[in-house]
């Protein structure tokens, strides 16, 4: 049986990456970096992990170096956050389109300005359309497990796409949680070495990331899109395998107290566990409320999501990113799009909250659920509401 220890979540991710026995880690080692790569560099310098650690001069270079390493067939990892992720933006699209299975921890934090190092999802939401598989952890154990699973998903020959494992900045990354750690011998059968389908090899030369004129560009993009949609099947297989081996079961969409729920709250990431407490408190008072949290964000699990909210009269979406000038946040947009074609659909109340690390408490979720039910009764016509903003 695996041992359970109290550990900073960032450090536990380094432990997972070490168990994945990565070949190359490329990272820009200063702000907004976390202990994830700091601890990995210690493993490498102490001889505990036989990987090349490439400290580069920017995140643009970190992602570029990761692509180069992955292209020669190396198992490759990097980690970043907020402005660092934004600087990787250009190269993230290349990783997906070139079908390079890089794994990255994204410690979600706000994008400046004002300069802010705290948590929200605005960094990763700007990368929504990059073609990466994107998963969200709700606690430290999930961040650890999803990291190990990410390599197996990314490197599957039916997938060959990069994976971003998202965990909330500070709320998860810098806290100490009980984590069940694996032994190397437990992980090896689950995660065998990476076997690239195509790689840069002097014996068999190929060119990757080359020119693609209008006559061929759409075909390459179509291939990436099909691979991303098709990856959901592989994600399900990997999660099933993981569950059978280690007893922790993962699903693309998780439900909490949704049986008979008339109002369902939608969350992503670590706020989910706080929201569960709000649900419990309201259930005790006899309110028919439940919670659905989205773990797999890209590809979006439409079928599972629609099944999870089935029967609800009201859906309250809590977004932690804003699409300025639009109708709220990215999760709300996705939920509304998923429901638009359905004849029977719940009333959707969209809320944006927690930007730049503003604390989200049990009371916030109760407020959101109360408002959602009130607006639903009136069928209030509104785009979205920003929670907690001072008006005077």
């Amino acid at each position: 049986m695996a041992k359970r220890v109290g550990m900073e979540v960032s450090i536990s991710i380094s432990e997972a990456v070490k168990l994945a026995n990565v070949d190359v880690i490329s990272a820009y080692p200063i702000t907004p970096q976390t202990h994830i790569v700091e601890h990995l560099s210690e493993f490498v310098s102490d001889g505990e992990l036989h990987s090349a650690f490439v400290p580069v001069e920017s995140e643009h270079s970190a992602m570029s170096a990761a692509l180069g390493a992955s292209a020669v067939g190396a198992r490759t990892f990097t980690a970043t956050s907020s402005q660092g992720l934004a600087l990787m933006h250009e190269i993230m699209y290349l990783a997906a389109s070139m079908r390079l299975p890089v794994v990255m921890s994204v410690v979600n934090r706000a994008l400046s300005s004002p300069i802010n190092i705290w948590n929200d999802l605005s960094d990763i939401m700007a990368e929504r359309d990059s073609g990466w598989i994107q998963v969200f952890a709700i606690n430290g154990q999930e961040a650890y497990d999803l990291t190990l699973q990410a390599f197996k998903i990314a490197e599957d020959p039916r997938v060959l796409l990069p994976v971003a494992v998202n965990l909330d900045g500070f709320i998860l990354s810098h806290v100490i949680e009980p984590i069940e750690l694996f032994e190397q011998k437990e992980v090896d059968p689950f995660l065998p070495p990476y076997q690239p389908v195509l790689r840069l090899d002097p014996e068999k030369p190929v060119s990757m990331g080359a020119f693609g004129s209008p006559e061929v560009f759409i075909e390459v993009k179509k291939q990436v899109e099909e691979a991303l949609i098709g990856s959901q099947k592989v994600v399900a297989e990997v999660w099933k395998d993981f569950g059978q081996r280690y007893g922790r079961v993962y699903k693309p969409v998780e439900s909490y107290q949704t049986k008979g729920a008339e109002t369902i709250l939608i969350t992503m990431g670590s706020i989910t566990e706080t929201a569960m407490m709000a649900i419990d408190a309201l259930r005790e008072k006899g309110r028919q409320v439940g919670l659905v949290h989205i773990r797999l964000w890209r590809p979006f699990p439409f079928k599972e999501f629609l099944q999870a909210i089935k029967g609800a009269k009201t859906v309250a979406v809590l977004d932690r990113a804003l699409s300025p000038g639009g109708v709220g946040g990215p999760v709300g947009l996705e939920v509304k799009s998923a429901l638009f074609g359905k004849e029977e659909r719940p009333y959707v109340a969209e809320f944006v909250a927690g930007l730049g690390g503003r604390d989200l408490t049990v009371e916030t979720f109760i407020e959101v659920l109360d408002k959602a039910e009130k607006y639903s009764q009136k069928q209030k016509d509104f785009q979205y509401e920003l929670i907690g903003v001072r008006e005077k």
């Binding site: 389109s97 070139m98 079908r99 390079l100 060959l160 389908v197 195509l198 030369p205 190929v206 060119s207 990757m208 990331g209 080359a210 020119f211 693609g212 004129s213 006559e215 061929v216 759409i218 075909e219 390459v220 179509k222 291939q223 990436v224 099909e226």
Partner: protein, 98 residues
């Protein structure tokens, strides 16, 4: 534009648009959008040093057996780097007719 030979269905595109045939860029003839100037080498001044061949960003020069370098209009963009780098000023950029 030059003819594209990769008009295949998306399922047949090599993974991620990877090019499996080394050196196939030579099939993509790009000289048709050259600036309307081209280099002309004066063989009286040429010392066969190969600087034009080394500096050409489009590999528009080929090395001949007699040591001189032939210019190839299929790839030359008329950038003039060869004329600039020639240590003997043997290369002149001349205007091309439409």
């Amino acid at each position: 534009m030059a003819k594209v030979e990769a008009m295949m269905p998306w399922k047949d595109v090599p993974l991620g648009g990877t090019i499996l045939e080394p050196g196939n860029a030579r099939k993509f003839k790009t000289g048709d959008w050259r600036s309307k100037i081209r280099p002309v080498t004066d063989k009286e001044k040429c010392i066969k040093c190969g600087m034009c061949w080394i500096f050409c960003p489009d590999m528009a020069y080929t090395h001949r057996e007699d040591g001189y370098f032939d210019w190839n209009g299929d790839y030359c963009k008329g950038c003039g780097i060869c004329a600039k780098e020639c240590p003997k000023d043997a290369i002149t950029m001349v205007a091309e007719e439409e």
